[in-house]
């Protein structure tokens, strides 16, 4: 299957936002907006819902706390009970620091891991062509032409009306 893409390049994030909002209002499908830095308002213009990463952090942190306490209780009180300074075997107050550190460790690593997996970024992943300048100062808005109701010329006009410096048409093969 091939999809037909129109890419507009902007020098100012406010122009990108303007174009993205018009697309939202007119129901033109936006594939993506690509920016050198996070643009405030783009989430709402593209209809991006708040990330669910905090849930991953919560689950990771809870797992760290539970595993941390179980590890300490089992090793110090069950597997080889050892009398240290006459403290009880289940001396939970003394187990708090390690359980706390493991909570943070598990929560942090699971958050970072989920971010990479969900965003599909990992070491050595290839770069999509056409976005070599979006890490410098250029913003790009990627639109998809789905049917004949909206012609190529109209996409270009939309970009130029919002002050695009360049617009590109591209056919992309998707598996």
């Amino acid at each position: 299957m091939t999809r037909h893409l129109h890419i507009g390049y902007f020098d100012d994030e406010r122009r990108l936002l303007g174009a993205a909002r018009e697309c939202r209002d007119r129901g033109i499908p936006v594939v993506d907006a690509i920016s050198p830095f996070p643009v405030h308002g783009i989430d709402e213009a593209l209809g991006i819902r708040p990330s669910r990463l905090p849930w991953v952090t919560l689950v990771g942190g809870t797992a760290g706390a539970v595993l941390g306490l179980l590890l300490q209780y089992w090793t110090a009180g069950v597997n080889w009970p050892l009398n240290v300074g006459g403290k009880p075997l289940d001396s939970f107050p003394a187990f708090v620091p390690v359980a706390f550190e493991l909570t943070i460790l598990f929560a942090g690593l699971s958050t970072a891991g989920a971010l990479l997996l969900r965003s599909r970024i990992w070491p050595g992943r290839g770069v999509r062509r056409g976005f070599e300048t979006t890490t410098d100062g250029t913003h790009a808005l990627v639109l998809e032409e789905r049917d004949a109701s909206f012609e190529s010329r109209e996409f270009r006009e939309l970009f130029l009306r919002h002050g695009a410096t360049r617009s590109v048409e591209r056919a992309e093969v998707i598996a």
Binding site: I104, G108, G124
Partner: protein, 464 residues
């Protein structure tokens, strides 16, 4: 200094546009290193080499090559450990706490401050390992199933809490720092050619800056900052319990956790100032690290320095008020005993010197601030030395009293830390973007409105 309508000086001066930021930060990575960099590297590597010889000699011959004795069991080794852990704290404070408080001035310095944290924690972690005497058995500190029973580690010991605190701190700091680097590594990749492009292609994880990714990315950064904030407080609190959970007069104090955390922030900010004042000059980053940034850090220095002074007074008051003769003796001995010189270096560097920043002439001189930051570094090293050695060298029984004189090998181990730290930091300045470009681009002064649309249409090169 130019100001906007509200009378606020801009964070970044020189009227930079996003492309200027990319050029200014990536430029130094793409050319040849300057003579100054080679000079710095030569000094740092020499110190590292000399220190490595001393540490190697000690590992081969044993802890007896140090000046420690039966009474003074901790000396330079643990002083260096606590000093370096403390240095790291400012990096996390700048990157995490100031992110949560939305302090935008952090964007110019957070990358280098976090790098400083990671390198300082590496230095810190090495000292207890060296102190073990048999560093090849260092993995025994981890709870793993073993053929000795299995005999587990003692989870009720503050020293083991340290293993988990420092280990977690290093891991989370590294992850937070690297995630912060990814968008900038992509910027470097898109400018690079040849082998550098291949390397940065792998390092940048295929980042292009999609809006969906940015949305998740910002959420993840806030989450990691929210995790790193209690973490950084816990790390030096746990380090302080190495002392506070013992019964040694001078160590056994509930004041220790907050006292150590604030001291860590104080020493860390002094080190950030030292590094940033040199970096802005050498890398020509005066537009990014402005006097506004330096003054903000100076304020933190005065604030935390004052709390450190209050903590010293509280310790002395508590010793007197406790009515415990041993506690009282420790503090009398600190101020007037054989190590009084170290105590007074500590007081003058940490309590008195930062107060000079109240004077306008001092805080408007970069050189004066630089010298002050060095004094605070020295003072905070001596603080740990005073806490550790003066509390130990006069035992409960006068027959056990002893002195402590570090040997040349211990001096070498002190130099080892500084050599390693500056070697790593100089490599970082050379190969990675020192300033968080994408974050700086969000705090640039922008024209009030985007330029009129018509003016740009001439540049159109629509490819149909």
């Amino acid at each position: 200094m130019r100001t906007d309508a509200a009378g606020v000086a801009p964070l970044i001066t020189g009227g930079k546009r996003p492309a200027d930021v990319t050029r200014d930060v990536c430029g130094p990575l793409e050319g040849r290193p300057t003579g100054l960099w080679y000079l710095g590297m030569a000094v740092a590597l020499s110190a590292f080499g000399l220190g490595a010889l001393a540490v190697g000699y000690q590992v081969a011959n044993g802890i007896g090559t140090w000046g420690l004795n039966r009474t003074v069991g901790w000396g330079f080794d643990i002083t260096n450990f606590v000093f370096w852990v403390g240095i790291g704290h400012a990096g996390t404070l700048i990157s995490a706490v100031l992110l949560l408080f939305r302090q935008k001035w952090r964007t110019s310095i957070n990358r280098s401050a976090e790098a400083m944290t990671i390198f300082a924690v590496i230095c810190a972690g090495l000292y207890p390992v060296i102190h073990m005497g048999r560093p090849w058995l260092a993995y025994w500190v981890f709870p793993y199933p073993n053929a000795r029973g299995p005999l587990w580690v003692n989870f009720r010991s503050a020293l083991l809490w340290d293993v988990f605190a420092i280990g977690t701190y290093f891991t989370i700091s590294l992850v937070f720092w690297y995630i912060g680097l990814i968008p900038d590594l992509a910027t470097v990749r898109d400018r690079a050619t040849g082998w550098r492009k291949k390397v940065f292609n792998v390092l940048s994880f295929g980042w292009i800056g999609s809006a969906r990714t940015w949305s998740r990315y910002e959420t993840a950064c806030v989450l990691l900052a929210a995790l790193a904030t209690p973490l950084v407080v816990s790390v030096h609190s746990v380090v302080s319990t190495d002392f506070a959970t013992s019964v040694i007069p001078g160590w056994h104090a509930t004041l220790f956790p907050p006292y150590f955390v604030i001291g860590a922030v104080f020493s860390g900010f002094a080190m950030v100032l030292t590094l940033m004042i040199v970096a802005r000059k050498v890398m020509r980053f005066e537009d990014y690290i402005t006097m506004k940034h330096i003054h903000a850090m100076c304020k933190v220095l005065v604030f935390t320095g004052s709390i450190v002074g209050a903590a010293y007074l509280t310790e002395i008051f508590t010793a007197w008020y406790s009515g415990n003769p041993y506690e009282k003796f420790v503090f009398m001995n600190r101020a007037g005993g054989p190590f009084a010189w170290a105590f007074w270096i500590m007081v003058s560097c940490n309590v008195i010197s930062p107060q000079l920043l109240w004077f306008k002439r001092v805080r408007n001189s970069v050189l004066a601030i630089f010298l002050l930051s060095l004094l605070v570094n020295v003072g905070m090293w001596f603080e740990r030395f005073v806490i550790i050695v003066t509390s130990l060298h006069r035992d409960f029984l006068p027959s056990s009293w002893a002195g402590y004189v570090p040997t040349k090998i211990e001096m070498g181990s002190l130099i080892f830390g500084f050599g390693l730290f500056f070697t790593l930091f100089l490599l970082f300045c050379r190969f990675l973007p020192m300033i968080a470009m994408f974050e700086v681009k969000t705090v640039l002064e922008r024209p009030a409105q985007a330029q009129p649309v018509g003016s740009l249409e001439a540049g159109e090169e629509a490819a149909a």
